[in-house]
């Protein structure tokens, strides 16, 4: 009875707020529409006609023809013709087209004006998409980088973020996993939050998408994941949400870096904003393009493990050491020893071992990746379209892993009248992927630790052709519990994501220069996770465990309405004004249903229905926000530029006392090169200084953090669950967004007719009011309360340098070099001495970067008894060959308290260096990128570099301490079974490695088939290419890849590598046709 009334209450709550706002918006919209119709004016004048061509005589469709001083304009049709009504004799027309130098021509008495536009190699006049509008790059005052489609050329990549790596200064991109369709991290100007979201805001064709369902932290994937209830909670997203967007559909990506640019996105701008613009039709001859590529992938770098002989020797040594440690004599026979310290006879004589299995070869494979894209684009002055369909299929280099994406898009623009324009962007994608359990401890069936830790002395198959298994291996703790191939076969994790994004807009030109635009969009996504673990998967020391299965389905719906009014005008020739006001509302609903089952009688049927469904949950979560905003761009004679923005955001996420926040920004620019005194310095083609300051916010703080909540805690009653409820979350009416105040100073410099162009920015970003779990005394009954108390600071410098190194008639060489440095520092936490544990080995403390590594600092290896005696007491049981640690507390004892910060996962600098060569019809692109100074904790080393005499080890362990005369590398301790030394096998600096690298990321050779051949084939253009991705990596990191991070998009525990899915090296061949 109670449940029913409760749900009624919720139902009414749910409905009421929605309806009036919808209705109101509709009413306002209709009113406005009628008003505009009423004020539409007619104008009498003469009609000017003309045809626009390029210098090569080719007709140019889509050229803007604008009456100077107004926003009135037309666009040339597919034959390059235009017709425009002009009043008055002193009118001037401006002809502009992207990639060409604009021309101004006074109309005078002319009625026909034909124009030849000259191609402009100056990228500086590019139009940049800023939030809610565009700006010429020349007029920019903030820090915004643009990457266009032609710069994104890695055909084997499943998502565009991978392609951006190294291309944009100030944006650190890392591929945390090589898993097909897997996570990619994008950090704009340093990690921005401790507990809140760290992701930038992604805006697709004006629609800010919600990334709330992120969380690909595979560190939390453990044995508890395998219970029926664990299956229900296993909701880490494995598929990168951005891979829903087909990279081939993207026209350009703009990255808004500084707060003066992002403040227009208010409470969502603090982590940077990434604006994705998809391809739209132009008024040109219809073109159908077909792109196809096929590639093969292989493991780029296998781990260097001990071979069978080295392994046997190591195991024998470990067992002898353990036995001697316990008081025995190394020469004692097995019969005298406990089972765990017995040594197999053949291990005494390693050279007799003939079996040598490379288990990595068993799990890796050569896998294909293919990508097809069919698109049609074209239009006339009334209707323009871009339609596309894509298929991407990547098999993973680890057996059973794969990812497929089917995508489709229709972008349509219709000019109904010279005042009214409508448009629509519709896209849908469906992705599926299979994700074997690769990361983690072999005890949970994790493939990579299994395949590396397993004894190389056992065969893959037995005589009958079954997977080899010998109980004796298990009993004496030598061989492995089950074959990694069994684990591959017996665990499955299948994901499906369907995503549709609709966004329709209507643009109405009220007056010349005054435009109203309204848009309504919906983004709907469903997500399915199907997990199955058969009874053959081990659970640590238990060989076989109950089969379990789980299914999770999520649905999220996000709708958006935006209304803007923009005004452009040039006063008295020199004062240019571009102003905007807007009102938006957005709401997101997330709904997750999951169920888990166990007690499967067999392993044959892997669906819930075959077992007993005994756990499940239904979770819903919503947020809503409403915003008003305004922006003014003003420039005086193109020399002095000013941009001021303000946004006011109200959000359901904020506490009652802080429902609305205001986010202003102001920035100024000075085009020095426009000054007359610069004219003599002809080698300077552009010099601009920029200075900006803004406030923005981070609202990724949880949807209900401010509300006092109860949580279910079950108890037991008569052999069944008895549900209970307990207070779990304290209310906090003061809860607010995390604030970011950033100052940015930038310089744009171009020399020698733009042969060299440089953009440099220096910034300081103070983040305040970061949301932290303020620890509460346990005696209060609450562990913590989320409060806005923390401060961090990011400051850095970033430089982008584009050069045209050589330019001949046939040969051209251009380069793009970016380098960025960011320094992250925690300024304030809840208390001065607070220490937040981000992971078992990472802390956040005042004065250090977020998530610094906090480890026992190994200072060497004890060489002899005298050294032990003269060192701080570690354990009475320490012997020579054990690790020696620094006594941080200075109390003369080595305990778990002797930890200190020894590094951080954040690089000192990241860079990218791209070289583009063209020779005739050939072009070659070589991209390098790198990262310097970051550290990674190789957690896999807790298993395969632990020296406990059981699992196979990295070949590094061959450099172990064996005796005072064979001290090894001075870092690797002796082998001793069961770690009798209490030598802190985990959480020590021994497993922290420099993750710096230099990577030849991509080499792409393209041949553009000459026109004379293509025209004979009645094709417009044909290009064929060959590409090598992830060609080579130079690094000292001993794991699979220095970028690996098992915590995925959970950046506050980044830099922990628990044997993350390795990156593949991919060779791709492809063709691009258009006709």
């Amino acid at each position: 009875m109670k449940g029913k009334t409760f749900s009624n209450r919720v139902y009414t709550n749910y409905r009421i707020p929605n309806q009036p706002i919808f209705r109101l918006m509709m009413i306002v919209f209709l009113c406005l529409f009628m008003v505009f119709q009423g004020i539409a004016q007619t104008d009498q004048g003469k009609v000017i006609r003309g045809r626009i061509t390029g210098t090569d005589g080719i007709l140019l469709p889509g050229v803007n023809v604008i009456l100077k001083g107004t926003a009135k304009g037309v666009i040339t049709d597919s034959d390059g013709n235009y017709a425009m009504e002009v009043k008055g004799k002193d009118a001037t027309l401006i002809f502009s087209f992207i990639g060409f130098t604009p021309q101004e021509i006074a109309v005078g008495s002319k009625t026909t004006i034909n124009v030849v536009l000259v191609e402009d190699i100056r990228k500086i006049d590019d139009v940049i998409i800023v939030g809610y509008g565009t700006q010429r790059k020349k007029d920019l005052t903030g820090s915004i980088a643009r990457v266009s489609a032609e710069d994104m050329n890695q055909p084997s990549a499943s998502s565009f973020d991978q392609m951006l790596q190294g291309k944009v200064a100030g944006v650190q991109i890392s591929q945390s996993t090589g898993s097909p369709g897997g996570n990619v991290n994008v950090i704009v100007r340093g990690i921005s939050s401790i507990t809140g979201g760290t992701q930038p805001l992604y805006v697709i064709d004006g629609f800010p998408i919600s990334m709330d369902s992120g969380g690909s932290n595979m560190l939390s994937f453990g044995s508890s994941t395998y219970t029926s209830a664990g299956m229900v909670n296993n909701i880490q997203s494995r598929i990168n949400p951005l891979s829903a967007i087909n990279p081939s559909d993207i026209e350009s990506i703009e990255i808004l870096k500084d707060a003066s640019s992002t403040a227009i996105y208010g409470s969502r701008g603090a982590n940077g904003v990434i604006i994705i613009t998809t391809k739209r039709g132009k008024s040109e001859k219809s073109k159908i393009s077909f792109d196809a590529s096929y590639g093969v992938q292989g493991i780029a770098h296998k781990l260097d493990m001990m071979n069978a002989q080295e392994y046997a020797q190591y195991v024998a040594e470990g067992r002898d050491n353990a036995y001697v440690y316990g008081g025995g004599n190394a020469s004692d026979p097995n019969s005298m020893r406990p089972i765990s310290q017995q040594v197999r006879p053949e291990f005494r004589n390693p050279s007799s071992i003939t079996q040598s299995t490379d288990w990595q070869d068993q799990i890796f494979r050569i896998a294909p990746v293919q990508n097809y894209q069919l698109s049609a684009t074209g239009g006339n002055e009334k209707l323009k379209y871009h339609l596309s369909a894509g298929y991407f299929d990547q098999q993973g280099i680890i057996k059973t892993s794969d990812y497929q994406r089917y995508s489709i898009r229709s972008n349509i623009d219709v000019i109904i009248s010279d005042k009214l324009k409508i448009g629509s962007s519709v896209s849908g994608s469906y992705s599926t992927g299979r994700f074997p359990n690769t990361e983690g401890h072999y005890g949970t069936g994790a493939i990579l630790t299994m395949a590396t830790a397993i004894s190389p002395t056992i065969p893959v198959y037995d005589d009958q052709g079954n997977y080899y298994f010998n109980q004796a291996d298990v009993t004496d703790g030598l061989g492995f519990l089950v074959s990694p191939l069994i684990a591959l076969r017996e665990f499955s994790d299948k994901r499906k994501v369907s995503n549709v994004l609709f966004n329709n807009f209507l643009e109405y030109k009220i007056l010349d220069g005054l435009t109203f635009k309204t848009s309504v969009g919906i983004n709907f996504e469903t997500n399915t996770i199907k997990l199955w673990k058969s009874s053959q998967i081990p659970n640590f020391t238990t060989l076989k465990s109950l089969a379990t299965a789980g299914v999770t389905k999520t649905e999220s719906l996000n709708w958006l309405n935006e209304n803007t009014l923009s005004y452009k005008h040039i006063f008295k020739e020199k004062h240019s004004l571009d102003a905007l006001i807007g009102l938006t509302a957005q709401k997101d609903s997330y709904d997750r249903l999951s169920a888990g089952a166990s007690n499967f009688p067999t392993d044959y049927v892997t669906y819930l229905s075959a077992g007993v469904v005994n756990s499940g949950t239904h979770y819903v979560s919503e947020w809503s926000m409403m915003s008003v905003m305004a922006r003014i761009n003003y420039s005086y004679a193109g020399k002095y530029l000013l941009t001021a923005t303000v946004r006011r955001d109200g959000s359901s996420k904020f506490g009652a006392n802080n429902k609305w926040g205001t986010f202003p920004s102001v920035s100024v620019g000075y085009n020095v090169s426009e000054e007359s005194f610069m004219k003599s310095l002809t080698f300077v083609s552009n010099l601009k200084l920029r200075l900006g300051y803004g406030l923005s916010g981070n609202n990724q703080i949880g949807n209900y953090t401010q509300i006092g909540l109860l949580s279910p805690v079950n108890y037991v009653d008569n052999n069944s669950l008895n549900p209970g409820l307990v207070p779990s979350n304290l209310a906090n009416n003061n809860l607010a967004w995390e604030k970011s105040a950033q100052i940015n100073f930038g310089l744009d410099l171009a020399l020698f007719k733009d042969r060299i162009s440089l953009t440099a920015d220096i910034y300081k970003d103070k983040k305040t009011d970061l949301l932290l779990a303020v620890q509460l005394p346990a005696a209060s009954g609450f562990y913590n309360s989320m409060q806005n108390v923390g401060d961090i600071e990011n400051k850095g410098i970033e430089v982008g340098l584009q050069t045209i190194n050589l330019r001949g008639k046939k040969f051209e060489w251009t380069s793009n070099f970016t380098i960025s440095h960011n320094e992250n520092k925690v300024v304030k936490l809840a208390t001065a001495n607070a220490r937040i544990f981000n992971s078992a080995n990472q802390v956040t403390e005042v004065g250090s970067p977020i998530a610094s590594f906090f480890l026992m600092n190994q200072t060497g290896i004890f060489q002899n008894a005298a050294e032990i005696a003269s060192s701080p007491l570690q354990s009475p049981k320490v012997q020579p060959g054990d690790m020696k640690f620094e006594d941080i507390t200075g109390d003369g004892k080595i305990t778990a308290s002797d930890k200190k910060i020894v590094g951080s996962p954040w690089p000192d600098f990241t860079w990218g260096f791209e070289n583009h060569f063209t020779y005739g019809d050939f072009s070659l692109n070589v991209s390098l990128n790198g990262s310097q100074g970051a550290e990674t904790y190789f957690m896999g080393g807790e298993v395969i570099y632990c020296l406990t005499g059981v699992q196979n080890q990295l070949a590094l362990a061959n450099n172990r301490w064996r005796s005072a005369s064979e001290p090894g590398d001075g870092v690797t301790p002796r082998a001793i079974r069961n770690n009798f030394a209490y030598g802190f096998g985990t959480g020590t600096s021994r497993l922290l490695f420099d993750a710096s690298y230099v990577r030849i990321k991509d080499i792409n050779l393209t041949y553009n088939v000459p026109k004379k051949i293509t025209s004979r084939l009645s094709l417009n253009s044909v290009a064929i290419f060959a590409d090598v991705a992830n060609a080579f990596t130079f690094t000292k990191y001993p794991g699979y890849d220095p970028e690996s991070s098992t915590s995925g998009d959970n950046l506050t525990s980044a830099g922990i590598d628990y044997m993350t899915y390795p990156l593949a090296r991919t060779y791709t061949f492809g063709v691009k046709l258009s006709f």
Partner: protein
């Protein structure tokens, strides 16, 4: 025109945004909508009881038994905190210390929350008394653990609704005597409030449970007369027959047994309601044939040979309490001990045992009563009570012991009777024999570990001192 437009925009932004921006979590209950009916309070109480599962699943046994001569680790790579307990060298960062501290206070706060709200809602007076009585019992139950382990502790009797309220509250440690006063007061009230509730099941508080605990509190305070008096009241209730078969108390399906006075419930079946005893109490052998699916133990709390050998010949409890040797999958055995009590031999999943933990039972009342009588000089009258327990165990009766011999006999009897029941440490502390007994045990094993004077109280969790620097540490830590 623009003016109108602006006005229109202002209008829509002000009209409906307040509603639009207020969203409640639909799948969760907020504190503002709960605590309305009797059923709500019952649900809140169930949540409070549920906290007992965590408290007893490991930490109370780590600090209450592993630390003593009863149990030891049979695992070669234990966690630091487990090692500290095994070696009676507990430090302020020990996770079991902080777990007991926070678990107890969490339950206390859940009770406080109920007690602070219940009088504002009107419903059936009997039910209200019952819920109040239960909440008071639980609060006392947890404070009793706190005061015994830590001595002086903060005393909290109110609910908190905001971080500001918590900051304003005096969280310093108050004298142990204050905590005892609170415990006694709560238990007395609880016994009264629950006096007429005769149908309550054993996982809920009852007047018998409140009086039994009160008897134990008095005994701990060495207030033997009061202890004897209140325990006698429990005896006179005549509702807790000693189980005929000792083993049934600690095996599957041990809910609501006659001898049980208060039990902590667990449930197997992958529901997240199981306990870890099956894994904790059995050795970490790869090829052990104790559980379905060859589940391994973890060897974290296995009986010492010392306690194995301390059972008298013919003691029926021995086989019900300790398994030896361990059967292996290859048909052989390994000479290791394992626990039998509370171990669910039907589970194949670690952490999913379904045997209830018996926290208070009649045998304890009997032996506590005998102790109280003996300490008040009534040694002769105490003998029959000790013998009741011995008779059930199949042992000969004792007679004619002097006061101190009787005390030692009781100590020994309690040790074997209550193995794995979390009593040993408190028994030894209460009788002042902890150092003597435990240090001798270490010496016998050839180990240099020692319980020092200061170690009779546990350290205040270091993490709590970081959060609240006004908490003082116990001397010696």
């Amino acid at each position: 025109m623009k003016k109108y437009l602006l006005i229109a925009m202002m209008l829509i932004s002000s009209v409906s945004c307040t509603d639009f921006l207020v969203l409640q979590p639909e799948n969760q209950i907020s504190e503002n909508t709960f605590y309305q009916t009797a059923n709500d309070f019952n649900t809140a109480l169930v949540g409070a009881y549920a906290g007992l599962q965590d408290l007893h699943n490991a930490s109370v046994l780590d600090l209450g038994e592993l630390i003593t001569d009863n149990l030891e680790i049979q695992w070669t790579s234990p966690e630091v905190s487990e090692m500290e307990c095994d070696q009676a060298n507990v430090t302020s960062t020990n996770v079991y210390v902080s777990s007991v501290w926070s678990n107890c206070f969490t339950i206390v706060s859940r009770c406080n929350n109920i007690l602070a709200r219940i009088d504002n809602v009107s419903f059936d007076a009997n039910l209200k008394s019952q819920y109040k009585g239960e909440a008071l019992f639980l609060r006392a139950y947890c404070y009793f653990y706190l005061v015994r382990f830590f001595g002086d502790v903060p005393i909290v009797k109110q609910k908190f609704s905001s971080p500001e309220e918590i900051a304003a509250f005096d969280m310093t440690r108050k004298p142990a005597a204050d905590a005892y006063a609170l415990i006694i007061d709560d238990l007395q009230n609880s016994a009264t409030l629950l006096a007429n509730m005769t149908t309550l099941k054993k996982e809920r508080a009852s007047t018998g449970a409140a009086k039994t605990l009160l008897g134990k509190v008095y005994l701990t305070q060495k207030d033997y007369a009061k202890s004897a008096a209140v325990l006698k009241e429990v005896i006179d209730l005549n509702k807790y027959p000693l189980a005929v078969n000792y083993k049934t108390l600690f095996s599957v399906n041990n809910s609501n047994l006659g001898e049980t006075i208060f039990e902590i419930r667990y449930l197997s079946g992958n529901l997240g309601e199981g306990n870890s005893f099956s894994s904790l109490f059995t050795p970490g052998l790869f090829n052990m044939a104790l559980f379905p699916g060859n589940m391994n133990g973890s060897g974290r709390m296995d009986p010492t040979m010392d306690i194995y050998n301390s059972y008298e010949t013919g003691d029926l409890r021995k086989a019900a309490s300790i398994g030896y040797p361990v059967p292996l999958t290859n048909g052989q055995t390994q000479n290791l001990t394992y626990g039998m009590k509370f171990v669910d031999f039907t589970t194949g999943v670690i952490g999913d045992g379904g045997v209830n933990f018996t926290s208070l039972r009649y045998a304890d009342v009997i032996l506590m009563y005998a102790e109280a009588l003996n300490e008040t000089g009534k040694t002769t009258e105490a003998h029959p009570y000790l013998n009741m327990i011995r008779i059930r165990a199949g042992l000969p009766t004792l007679s004619g012991l002097g006061k101190s011999d009787f005390a030692l006999a009781l100590e020994k009897e309690r040790r074997v009777e209550f193995l794995y029941e979390g009593q040993r440490w408190f028994d030894l502390i209460r009788t002042g024999r902890a150092q003597t007994v435990i240090n001798k045990h270490f010496a016998d094993k050839g180990l240099t570990f020692k319980v020092e004077d200061y170690e009779l109280l546990m350290p205040i969790p270091q993490g709590e001192i970081y959060i609240n620097p006004k908490l003082t540490q116990n001397t010696g830590y």
